[in-house]
């Protein structure tokens, strides 16, 4: 299945502003992040602690709704879902 990934600020520079990622059916948000880490140089270091835990400044939305990186990484994605990844907000 195809999942659209949008990335902003520093993550946009690493991942590109928009890309599509091909995943197995029933893949989770964590599977998607792991796939990005394996195909995009620099993303693993930027997004994950050396221990493998997602860094606390990584913020995520699925289909424009915020998800909790502590609770929702196991959420199963479906064809056409959109993941947005960005650092803490800094407008104004």
């Amino acid at each position: 299945m195809k999942i659209k990934v949008l990335a902003f600020a520093a993550f946009g520079e690493i991942l590109g502003r928009e890309r599509e990622v091909e995943l197995e059916e029933e893949a989770s948000v964590k599977d998607l992040l792991d796939e990005l880490a394996s195909i995009v140089p620099g993303f693993r270091e930027a997004a994950f602690e050396p221990s493998g835990i997602l860094r606390d400044y990584v913020l995520l939305m699925v289909n424009r709704k915020r998800i909790d990186p502590e609770r929702d990484l196991s959420r199963i994605l479906v064809e056409g879902d959109e993941l947005a990844i960005f650092p803490p907000l800094a407008g104004g």
């Binding site: 600020a9 960005f86 803490p88 907000l89 407008g91 104004g92």
Partner: protein, 134 residues
């Protein structure tokens, strides 16, 4: 009106749009690019969620502070030192509500709207401003 765009902000036009006969106060805030030894800034938005969040914040301010009208305009793209980044204009019957509403919109926008700023240095490099909004 809530706007995100690259065009220069017209504070005059925003003020005209929030003026009401029943409003005795109009308060405006204009955020500009400060010269911290930088050439300028680049502002990026996750546009639709940012517009939705800004509209939600505007409505909260309208009801909490009994505003008669409120408008918010945030710029994106490359901005030089001194240029406007953000304008907020609120009208209310009295000054306390207008000041409080304007301040509320500013602080909530910084904390909740998906927008980011990158400082562009004179050597052409860039540095993303560390955000505190989550």
């Amino acid at each position: 009106m809530i706007e995100i765009g690259e065009e220069e902000i017209s504070l005059d036009r925003m003020i005209q749009r929030v003026r009401r006969n029943e409003a005795g106060a109009v308060v405006s805030f204009l955020g500009t690019v400060r010269d911290d030894g930088i050439l300028g800034m680049e502002v990026e938005a996750f546009r639709d969620p940012a517009l939705s969040e800004m509209e939600a914040i505007r409505q909260e301010a309208m009801s909490r502070f009994s505003l008669t009208a409120a408008e918010v305009s945030h710029r994106t793209g490359r901005l030089a030192v001194g240029e406007s980044i953000l304008a907020i204009v609120c009208s209310a019957a009295h000054r306390e509500e207008a000041f409080s509403g304007c301040r509320y919109i500013l602080e909530e926008l910084k904390a909740r709207a998906p927008l980011w700023k990158k400082e562009i240095s004179s050597d052409g490099g860039g540095h993303w401003v560390e955000g505190h909004g989550r």
